[in-house]
Symmetry: C2
Subunit: 327 residues, 2 copies
């Protein structure tokens, strides 16, 4: 077993045994790392929600562009964001991690620190996983298990004609960082000026409040980009949408800070904001859990996605599917 | 998105929507593939058990040695076996799969068939996962979620001095296949003559019966090999063990069938049999759920693992940690 793999298991076991074990809200981790399975005791009258997300070197991150802490943070944030999009409460995370034989041990330590720091912020236990040697590059798979009151999970399929469409926060900030790095590969970005890319904050409280107050008929997290994720909601709900380009909240990035282009806000992925639809007649606050909530359009019966420009001309929006660092 | 990845998602969605969705015993999959998370409704008065296992090309399998169906079968069998070792009931599986761009679509189809065939045998739903492009080689991570009656999970830590030690089935058969393939890399083995390697059968019914009848104080599945897995039980339970080499059931492999060496039975991994300890005074049947159950030794207070040979001489057993196809 390579040194880094051994150190990783030791770190995770320590983490599991100290800061973040035991009761998480009304859930508890009875047995964490060190048995064939983790054993979780989840609250009564709740459904269980589960999500898995890969984080692969060369596809989702590059070792020369991303600090190890950011890689660990983003790996977990992807899973937490999926739980947020159901209106759920995350309980436990599982990390499957395969490491190349020559990986410096310090890298693994910083990766785990980044992951655990986000986990403890949301009271999520690291309850298990798997380790292996990787034949090539760093490979991580994060599983997050959460809970949602029985029958109350907010699905993608609940949008109805007439519902209004909202997004949280600002869009396009994460993709702006990727464009910068692609354009100038040797220039390291300062993560503080591109926080939405390097340290995205999953909208867990916001998603839960929307679910509790019955404000969301359908919800998804913005991981593939607005054009693609809105298409997912429309497809699963059997509806269409009309959105106003002028209403889309453009992210501010860089130093000095500047607005991203509309194109990035429409098609850039990995912002991990929430996109949701709300029934007519329900008042949706302009800010929830400290995050701006913006009306960008409404759901239509016609199964097409149209975008209106400033002149009131509508054109059809094609989902462009954000593809990380794809060739 | 590469063709194989698209086809995979389509296959899995079809599978999720037909044969194996809906109620699984008293559990049900409310929402499977096609939302941010899967939503599971698990039975009352049960704990949730979760396990994750990598299956990586070049580490856990080789494309020239293993039929794709076998790779899919083994990937899921690893997770099911972990659930069996808790005395649990598997409910849902999740597949994270990253594929190289040039992988033939037919390979993926056969992989998924192998996996789904084992899943349907045990009534396990394929409820979600993730797909990605792999920068190098086929990468799979399987997550299995199961249930066990509240507080009844059989842990590794429950072995007490005086408990007897049992194994199920025969040992060393899976490792024998690996030795054969290593020795003659060009010679394809017939999976029928090495079934324990290519199509291992997780001991789910057996594990559940042991738990129901209170026959197991500690349990683990034999994935790393008897010497290593017995050491795990001893370490977690703070005890030692004495086993008799003559008692260890040696696997029969090949054609004509022959017995494997004691060395393979002691140190070879991936048989996915169960190793458990049973309290004195409890009668353990010689066969459970159609599988032989063999007494091989007992737990001691002295924290060492000793093996007795035919002459009654005991030597200390060093865990040798089965490492798949490691260099």
């Amino acid at each position: 077993m390579p040194l880094a793999e051994k150190a990783l298991i030791a770190w995770i076991r320590r983490a599991g045994k100290s800061a973040i074990r035991g009761r998480v809200g009304r859930s508890s981790v009875l047995t964490g790392i060190g048995d064939d399975c983790a054993v979780l005791r989840l609250p009564l009258q709740h459904d269980t929600v589960v999500t898995t997300d890969f984080t692969l070197e060369g596809i989702h991150f590059r070792r020369d562009w991303h600090p190890a802490e950011s890689v660990g943070h983003r790996a977990l944030a992807r899973g937490l964001s999926d739980i947020a999009a159901m209106g759920g409460q995350p309980v436990a995370a599982f990390l499957s991690l395969a490491l190349p034989r020559d990986l410096p041990q310090a890298w693994v330590g910083r990766f785990v620190r980044g992951l655990l720091s986000l986990a403890s912020k949301y009271g999520v236990a690291l309850a298990g996983g798997d380790t292996a040697e990787s034949p090539n590059g760093i490979l991580a798979d994060i599983i997050v298990v959460g809970t949602v009151p029985k029958g109350k999970a907010v699905l993608r399929s609940g949008a109805r004609p007439g519902d209004r469409i909202f997004v949280t926060g600002e869009l396009g900030g994460a993709a702006a960082a990727v464009l910068q790095m692609r354009a100038r590969p040797k220039n390291k970005l300062n993560p503080r000026n591109y926080a939405r890319h390097f340290y995205p904050d999953p909208r867990i409280a916001l998603g839960r409040i929307l679910r509790e107050k019955g404000l969301a008929t359908a919800m998804i997290d913005l991981s593939d980009g607005l054009s693609t994720d809105l298409a997912h909601i429309c497809e699963e709900s059997g509806v269409g949408a009309e959105i106003e380009s002028a209403a889309i909240p453009l992210a501010h990035v860089g130093k000095p800070a500047h607005e991203v282009s509309l194109d990035l806000a429409l098609h850039g992925g990995e912002d991990y904001e929430l996109l949701f639809t709300s029934p007519r007649g329900k008042r949706v606050p302009a800010e929830i859990a400290g995050v701006a909530v913006t009306l960008i359009g409404h759901i239509t019966r016609l199964p097409k996605i149209l975008v209106g420009n400033l002149k009131g001309v509508y054109y059809e929006l094609q989902p462009q599917g954000w593809e990380h660092f794809h060739r």
